[in-house]
């Protein structure tokens, strides 16, 4: 069919606007708004003794200064705990503005509103806050030791303890012929989108309504949160996510203190107010992730089969837990990857520290889990002297075992049941792509030349498209154009294109006739948000459902007009016609006109739908029973549970024998996210994920000192890779459609980043001849690991 675009690498329709500087990101709008700036804590843990704003009062253009004392009831309460969980026995959330105590460097204490940001910062500079500094808790070791507490009322700094078990792991380990123990550690990193957070609020006193623009991943939820916090009826609050300059998880959290405060200030001052987060603020006052310490006991037989697996880990959740314990739950469950240990027990503690709060960053606990499981696989291979790929293959869940029930509960509260996937096939493709079987020879040649090269492999399974639901609305206008709206938001995933492809194919119209709106509560009010690689799975299927309803209605109306059986009709390039009889046809635009019986004509098109123009049965109502005027429909998709994508990466590295620099020689990806709607966009998602995986493995870390000071709160020292640090990425795809949804789609957003740390640890270990157990790793660290290894072997 000429209009078919599903599965085609269509160029993105949002690009011309963004490329010519016509995008509208948060700070690109509201130039006349007042600017907000914040006084933030320089201490990791302190009592606020006094706040003196006197000197700030004579700053030009100062509009207002707010502290916690100025906040009304609901705003003065702690911000919501978004995802409660029975195991989260001691959840704590921050205040919009600190009350009495600060728990991390960067926590907001005072909000200043002034004519512009320069002046607002002038005022911030003149505000003196007196602190009584308290000893901070920094790092997992200190949190576990608990000789100091982050929150006085949280014993042991323990926010949550959770255990999941499938089978009797202890017994399985006791019975295992071979047992290994590993200690594995991952440091902090963060999403760090190029655009920070931002909020722009407008209050209409006459209409008593609030319009808020926020650089968020969840506009409908921000609306609900603001309505609740500000005591407004939800229908008086509209939240719009404009163009968003990247999210990667950090913008799913809501409401951020600034979202609430800026909106409240706009109402209080009855003026437009805007806050644009600067880079330093983003480092010290948004969110981080990744920091976990793991202890593993694994039992296996002489063939390398996993008999028992026991994992204990400690998760650093920072100072607060607004997003619950999603990240450690994901680690605990997704750690298993494509493998099927006979018995598995996992236990974690989520611990408070006086550092920036922790919420999901792309991958959301999976990179840590994948790192742990894949290190275990390499350890088993080393122990048995087996090929690393072989050991993995022996433990794969086989295609004929799908759906596979792990006997655990996933992050969405539903059973962890893999829907589909062909792991042996993925591995075969990867080994072929990277030349796995030939590498041994190359390694030996290199060694002979005094060079150190290594190859690494890592496999993962990613639960994508979690519920509860998303919705879509589709309308055919009387000019034949199609409007699509869905509630979730966009941060660069190409929804304008992929969602349009779904609608265009079902409705049989040209792609350029379809326009898509996302993340605007004025256009679609029911939504969850963009996270967990769910956008296309959820909204894609919801839009498909709506489009099918519209198509059915169009065929019905066209059938009446053409006096044909709707089952004999098809839609090609926006024209409904009798299959095989192009002469018997009616444009979709006309069908749209006919779908809305009119009394008044306002143009020649609409004249065809007026009461004297229509041949109508006088005994039937113009709009049939149970129908609505117009060619539009709303559809929802709510899956029973997540669908599970998978992938496998291999990397070849060369480490400098003198400088310990780590050079990436090749990076190969095989990826299976079910049916591909737009391969080009999926490819781009994989590339971006891999780059973040490279960063997480070799460059990026949040370095806190013992006093809770973030030592690298800038792009100068938080080493996000440039183009020169990211390799050329070779990719191949499998398409194992998901049986769970009509389009057979699985999510692809996070895939690329998940195996990063694991695959580099595997490759560097292979090049160096000793195991890497902590990520990320720098040349300086590799240098010292070599020293330690040499000393150990010389002893």
């Amino acid at each position: 069919m000429s209009t078919r675009t599903m599965g085609e690498p269509i160029a993105r329709r949002e690009d011309p606007r963004l490329l010519s500087g016509q995008g509208h990101y948060l700070d690109d709008i509201g130039h006349t708004a007042l600017a907000a700036a914040f006084v933030r804590s320089p201490h990791a843990h302190a009592q606020i003794v006094d706040i003196d704003v006197t000197d700030a009062l004579d700053v030009d253009g100062l509009m207002a200064i707010y502290t916690h004392d100025d906040l009304p009831d609901r705003l003065a309460e702690p911000l919501p705990l978004l995802i409660p969980h029975p195991s989260l026995t001691h959840g704590r959330t921050p205040y919009a503005l600190a009350k009495d105590e600060v728990n991390h460097v960067g926590e907001a204490i005072v909000m200043v509103v002034a004519a512009d940001r320069y002046l607002a910062e002038d005022a911030c500079d003149r505000i003196r806050v007196e602190y009584e500094v308290l000893p901070p808790v920094v790092g997992i070791a200190a949190a576990r030791e608990a000789s100091r507490l982050v929150h006085e009322d949280v014993p042991g700094n323990i926010a949550a303890t959770m255990v999941q078990e499938n089978g009797d792991a202890a017994a399985a380990l006791a019975a295992s012929p071979r047992v290994l123990e590993l200690d594995l550690e991952v440091e902090r990193s963060a999403s760090t989108p190029l655009e920070g957070k931002g909020v722009y609020a407008r209050w209409d006193p006459a209409d008593a309504s609030l319009r808020v623009y926020s650089s968020t991943q969840a506009s409908t939820s921000v609306r609900a949160a603001l309505a609740a916090k500000l005591g407004l009826p939800p229908n008086r609050v509209e939240v719009v996510a404009p163009d968003v300059g990247g999210g990667f998880g950090v913008k799913i959290v809501h409401p951020w203190p600034e979202e609430v405060l800026v909106s409240w200030a706009a109402i209080t001052l009855s003026r437009e107010v805007k806050w644009t987060e600067d880079r330093r603020e983003h480092f010290v006052s948004s969110a981080h992730e990744r920091s976990q310490v793991h202890h593993v006991r694994v039992g296996f037989d002489d063939d390398g089969h996993l008999l028992g697996l026991e994992v204990s880990f400690w998760h650093d959740n920072g100072a607060y837990t607004p997003y619950g314990i999603i990240v450690p739950i994901v680690t605990a469950t997704q750690l298993l990857g494509p493998y099927k240990p006979a018995a598995y027990r996992v236990e974690f503690q989520s611990l408070y520290t006086n550092t920036v709060l922790v919420t999901p960053y792309r991958g959301a606990g999976r990179p840590q889990g994948c790192f742990v499981m894949e290190r275990v696989m390499d350890a088993i291979a080393a122990e048995l002297g087996f090929d690393r790929a072989e050991v993995r293959e022996r433990n794969f869940i086989q295609p004929d075992e799908m759906p596979y029930d792990h006997g655990l509960i996933f992050q969405d509260g539903r059973p962890l049941i893999y829907d589909s996937g062909d792991y042996p096939a993925t591995l075969r493709k990867l080994k072929k792509l990277v030349g796995w079987d030939e590498f041994g020879v190359y390694r030996e040649q290199a060694r002979a030349e005094g060079r150190r090269v290594g190859i690494g492999i890592a496999c993962y399974v990613e639960g994508t498209g979690v519920g509860p639901y998303e919705g879509g609305w589709v309308k055919v206008e009387t000019d034949g154009s199609v409007v699509v709206a869905t509630g979730l938001t966009t941060q660069g995933q190409g929804h304008q294109t992929a969602f349009a492809q779904v609608a265009a194919d079902i409705l049989g119209v040209q792609l350029d006739r379809v326009s898509v709106v996302t993340g605007d509560t004025r256009r679609f009010g029911y939504a969850v948000g963009t996270f967990a690689s769910r956008a296309l799975v959820m909204s894609g299927n919801a839009i498909a459902a709506a489009a099918r309803k519209v198509r059915d209605k169009a065929l019905r109306i066209a059938g009446d007009a053409l006096e044909a059986d709707p089952r004999d009709l098809e839609i090609i390039d926006g024209v409904v016609q009798v299959r095989g009889v192009p002469t018997s046809a009616i444009p979709l635009s006309t069908v749209a006109v006919l779908s809305n019986p009119l009394r008044y004509a306002f143009d020649t098109e609409s004249a065809r739908a007026t009461q004297f123009a229509l041949p109508a049965d006088p005994d039937k109502p113009p709009v049939p029973e149970g129908e609505q005027p117009g060619l539009e429909a709303t559809g929802y998709y709510s899956p029973p549970r997540a669908t599970f994508a998978n992938g496998m990466h291999a990397v070849v590295v060369e480490t400098d024998p003198d400088t310990a620099e780590i050079r990436i020689v090749r990076y190969c990806v095989v990826h299976d996210c079910g049916t591909l709607v737009n391969p080009r966009i999926v490819e781009g998602q994989v590339h971006g994920g891999v780059a973040q995986g490279v960063g997480g493995a070799l460059y990026e870390r949040m370095v806190y000192d013992d006093d809770g000071q973030l030592l690298n709160a800038s792009f100068m020292d938080f080493l996000m890779p440039y183009s020169t640090e990211v390799p050329t990425i070779e990719t191949d795809h499998l398409e194992t459609p998901s049986p769970l949804n009509p389009l057979g789609i699985k999510g692809a957003g996070e895939a690329g980043v998940i195996p990063g740390m694991a695959v580099f640890a595997s490759a560097i270990s292979d090049a160096e001849g000793f195991p890497i157990t902590r990520m990320p790793i720098s040349p300086s660290e590799l240098f010292h690991l070599r020293r330690a290894h040499e000393e150990a072997t010389n002893r």
Binding site: D122, R280, Y699, P721, Y722, T724, S778, P779, F783
Partner: protein, 291 residues
């Protein structure tokens, strides 16, 4: 991150600039490239009451080469130095080193003299000046002084430039005949500050064997460190220098600090390794030039 207010001055002659600096004293700063000053001010770590923009002063942007060497004016950009063919011919190390200064976009605006005055011990050009025995000329109202690297670099981020003074020119002496230079550096990301950087000069004798050798290092001390390693490789064939001993000598000489990217021990190790690499390359270049 927005700067505090200041009064902006834009002199068009050196005299005007020196008068302004004299009046303003320690309350003002010179703005040339501003690639360090501006972010400093945006972070409000710097809040000078006055900025004296020297970019419109005639005659400060030049790069002259003569028999003695290369003279770089106060507002000559790194990029100008990098692409100046005559300067490269006279002092190859200038281009060899300046290519490691940040990224092209920064080099387009940042000035070489400014980076010297900034005296960051991780700044490549500080080691180039020290290694080659160059000088910086400082002018103040009614006076001028010319300082060698030893006097000019006082400490980390401290040069000898005083209140009311303007660094107007840096001079780099022409490379000797039968000499070769090279720069070797390790940084975390391409264009980042060097974890360690080493420049080397090797001069051959009439016999085409190594007659003299020196290295200049950055990021291993409070100021650029110059080590004469002649004794370690003197008399060796220029095409097959065994530089390990020289590297060890360098390792024993430097006393680096640790930071979040590298331990002191790793830096010391790099100093030796990179010195050896730079010396070998410099010797090979010397032998080419002598040929």
């Amino acid at each position: 991150m927005k700067p505090s207010s200041f009064v902006y001055h834009r002199p068009t002659t050196i005299e005007e600039a020196l008068d302004l600096l004299a009046e303003i004293g320690s309350d003002g700063k010179v703005l040339a490239g501003g690639q360090s000053l501006v972010p400093l001010m945006s972070m409000r770590l710097a809040a000078p009451a006055h900025l004296v923009d020297v970019n419109r002063i005639d005659g400060l942007a030049g790069i002259q080469t003569d028999v003695d060497g290369v003279r770089v004016g106060a507002t000559a950009r790194h990029a100008d130095v990098e692409h100046h063919e005559a300067a490269y011919a006279a002092v190859p190390l200038l281009r060899q080193a300046v290519k490691h200064v940040a990224h092209p976009t920064i080099r387009n605006r940042g000035t070489t003299v400014g980076s010297l005055a900034h005296a960051d011990p991780s700044g490549e050009m500080t080691a180039v000046l020290a290694l080659l025995g160059g000088t910086v000329t400082l002018r103040r109202r009614g006076g001028e002084r010319r300082l060698a690297a030893g006097e000019f670099f006082v400490g980390p981020l401290e040069s000898a430039v005083g209140p009311g003074e303007l660094a107007v020119e840096a001079f780099f002496p022409r490379s000797a005949p039968r000499s070769g230079t090279a720069w070797a550096e390790v940084s975390r990301r391409h264009g980042d500050y060097a974890v360690c950087g080493v420049g080397a000069v090797v001069t051959l004798g009439e016999d085409r064997r190594v007659g003299a050798a020196k290295v200049g290092l950055i990021s291993v001390g409070p100021t650029p460190v110059v080590v004469d390693v002649t004794d370690a490789i003197v008399g060796q064939s220029a095409d097959a220098v065994e530089a390990e001993r020289a590297g060890r000598l360098v390792m024993d000489t430097v006393d680096p600090d640790a930071d979040i990217h590298a331990t002191a021990e790793y830096r010391r190790h790099l100093a030796g390794t990179l010195a050896a690499r730079a010396l070998t390359e410099a010797a090979a270049r010397a032998s080419e030039r002598a040929a």
